[in-house]
Symmetry: C2
Subunit: 421 residues, 2 copies
């Protein structure tokens, strides 16, 4: 099986090297040798850590008749979409690791692909075979919920904040120094990367359409030392979670930091690791854990897709062979989300403030489950109040927060973290 | 797709009920309806919790031409082997959850099956799609090691002993009362069930042949309160582990209780849950966690196999399309195992005893990493010594233990637990 590698960067280089290193074993498993015959790059002069013929003329590679599978590892959205569309028009199989592409174009690509193989295991959870688990391993199950730690950078920062007690900025800097965060970390820490991956999983689980703009996406950049203090006090971890669940026949999709009880298996996932918990109606909870990024780990999934193609496996790209048979399911509006909430409010430390806040909450349908007032430093005339609500409507919480912000006795903006129960 | 259910017990009943409950969704995923048309049982008079035509004449079912897939859920070894052989002779697809059958006959069944589909996802890890993960998701990887908690009964008992401080006998009784252990629990607590599953995983990882008799199998029945005390003191959990790894181009397979550092993800798996950590050369560690038993969880895997057959997926049964290409790998003799060991020795509490033991150890190539003497109760003239060795040869540890047993100052038999590092 001859393959072309479109993009010989971190992942592409690993794919080429592992196919060489484990060549015989992979052939024994796949039934044929998998040969990377040409790589495409932008800059032919850059030094490469792998041994392959290179070109910067992508069209000449797409025009070749001897290539069986094209592996897209360039990144981007519209450019790879056009390139892959051309390849699928020629009925050539495609493998990609590109979650951004799929977050926007997965349904269009599924249609273009038709019966042609289209692998994207590497797009979610790096080396964790999560697409396979969800699309094939759990095919008997109605999926009740998916809860994922899908971004290693954010998880590394949060773990470090919890365990070393350092602030967000410092944890980010350490992650950057260690190569776990990019110079511009926006995409990872603000939740977009996790959201792209969540949309892919939600398509397999629910057949739900939607772009990143349509779902709730919040990042970890506003988590403070006080939130860490509270989490420790009440036996929570703080994780950036990507959640998909079915609520009233709508799909609820959201990415945000969450307080997670230390008893949940997913709360135990530390550092750059990823994990996805899936709740199915037959199986109950199952969890999949591993390296969510890195050249070799991601290449592991890319090559698994190639082996699947060599074995002539025919799984429907997004999990459904006949979409007509399943109900069209719509996205739940973000204001209709219901969960428990943690609220942090900085207030003037004077008599009557707490009563005013609790009245305001109950007037707006928030009922309080837990309350903590942080021991105040001497010489300060402000104190921080922490609340956990019972299950409430996102819209009510948002209203309470903006009402609180307007009060004189409240200093700055109240802050909220959703709780994963 | 018409299927026959051979054995309508715990798992068979769940398979029938889930196929009915999730009928449309499963059809949308599989591309066709999966219809259980006939069930085979021993006793037609027993009440059943599912709706299917039943017979006790298995031959009449095997002779039918309209059945596409036979699902074996009877249990046993030789009887299902003969039945499945007949079915495969007729080139009809088979799905089974029967790990005992596969522990003995997997290679013979692979040969008989040839190109006919043979699914056995449910045989290891219940509902966890671990066969799929290892055989397909990790196909790019040389497997360095597999470490599994493959028996929920044992894990439930050990978790309970660690968390509630109760003794083995009491924990076993509680497990039986809750239905987590059978009236005769031998098979689970002595490690045989886990060993059957380990042999299956090791075939996919290494292509290694071997029966349960050929590998090291130890149970949890001798774990004492003192071992629990030590584990807590030194931040270990005690787990019944099934381990397969490659050592010097031999496959090392063993099932035994092990001390596992609390930092390892697998140490966090509590109660009846199962989990399998796999270390691959490309991916590093990944872990798969979920319900290892129970009718519905196991049925989830059985039905995943049926969907795979409907989708016409063609994965080689034991993971290799061309066995000739991989090296024949042999089992490592159990005496050649090398790991770290925990030793518990009850001795007379008098001067010179410790020196004698440490001399005896060093004369026999055991070097000590950690030593603890338990605070002695007043009025006792015996005390318990705990040692952790550096990495040592199993044969050396066994020799030291039998030498110690012969010493006057040693009371009873020294006890050993292997350490998973
Ligand atoms: N890195 C990971 O851990 C990881 C994990 C999961 C998924 N992914 C996904 O995998 C994909 C690749 O990631 P990566 O980290 O390997 O990226 P990378 O290191 O930046 O490599 C990208 C490669 O594509 C080439 N390229 C980019 N645009 C091109 C164009 N227009 N024409 C020809 N070649 C072009 C680049 O050429 P030059 O070398 O000449 O610049 C480079 O070789 C992305 O979609 C990413 O989201 C990555
Ligand atoms: N239970 C689990 O959680 C689990 C998990 C993983 C794997 N498994 C495996 O799945 C298989 C089935 O387990 P199970 O718990 O469902 O067993 P079970 O409840 O004992 O059911 C066995 C069924 O097979 C029938 N049967 C047995 N021998 C037969 C024969 N000679 N002819 C016709 N019918 C026969 C029995 O008939 P009657 O009902 O008339 O007695 C019964 O319906 C076993 O291989 C087991 O190891 C089970």
């Amino acid at each position: 099986m001859k393959i072309a590698i479109l993009g010989v960067g971190t992942v592409g280089t690993s794919v080429i090297n592992i196919l060489k290193k484990n060549r015989h074993m992979i052939a024994a498993r796949a039934g044929e040798h998998i040969e990377p015959v040409i790589g495409v790059v932008k800059d032919l002069k850059k030094p490469r850590e792998c041994d392959i013929e290179l070109t910067d003329d992508i069209d000449s590679v797409i025009d070749r008749d001897d290539i069986d599978v094209y592996v897209e590892l360039m990144g981007g959205i519209e450019e790879p979409y056009e390139i892959i569309s051309k390849i699928l028009d020629k009925k050539k199989a495609v493998v990609t690791a590109n979650k951004a592409l799929l977050a926007y174009h997965r349904y269009a690509l599924q249609e273009k692909a038709g019966d042609t193989s289209f692998g994207y295991e590497a797009s979610v959870g790096g080396g964790i075979p999560i697409i396979k688990a969800l699309r094939e391993g759990l095919s008997a199950n109605k999926i009740e919920k998916i809860v994922g730690i899908l971004n290693g950078t954010s998880n590394y920062i949060l773990t470090n904040m919890m365990q070393s007690g350092i602030k967000f900025e410092e944890a980010l800097k350490q992650a950057q120094d260690l190569g776990y965060a990019e110079a511009d970390p926006t995409f990872d820490i603000e939740g977009y990367d996790a959201a792209h991956k969540l949309l892919i999983l939600a398509s397999i689980a629910y057949g739900v359409h939607g772009n990143p703009e349509d779902i709730l996406i919040k990042g970890i950049e506003k988590i403070s030392s006080e939130d860490i203090f509270f989490a420790k006090e009440f036996d929570y971890e703080i994780k950036l979670l990507a959640i998909a669940k079915k609520t009233d026949n709508k799909a609820e999709l959201r990415v945000h930091p969450a307080l997670v009880s230390k008893e949940k298996m997913i709360s135990k996932v530390d550092g750059v690791m990823n994990a996805i918990s899936i709740y199915g109606d037959a199986l109950g909870e199952s969890m999949y854990y591993g390296a969510g990024a890195g050249g070799d780990a991601t290449a592991s999934s890319v090559i698994a897709d190639l082996v699947d193609i060599a074995r002539e496996n025919k799984n429907p790209m997004l999990g459904y062979k006949e979409l007509s048979e399943i109900q069209k399911i719509e996205l739940l509006p973000t204001s209709s989300i219901r969960t428990k909430y943690y609220l942090r409010v900085k207030v003037e430390d004077k008599v009557g403030v707490l009563a005013k806040i609790t009245n305001l909450m109950s007037d707006n349908k928030l009922s309080i489950d837990t309350f903590l007032q942080k021991p105040r430093n001497k010489n300060e005339n402000h104190t921080t109040l922490f609340f956990i609500t019972h299950t409430s409507l996102e819209a009510d919480v948002k209203r309470v927060m903006s009402l609180l912000e307007k009060e004189d006795f409240v200093d700055g903006r109240p802050f909220m973290i959703r709780i994963e129960d």
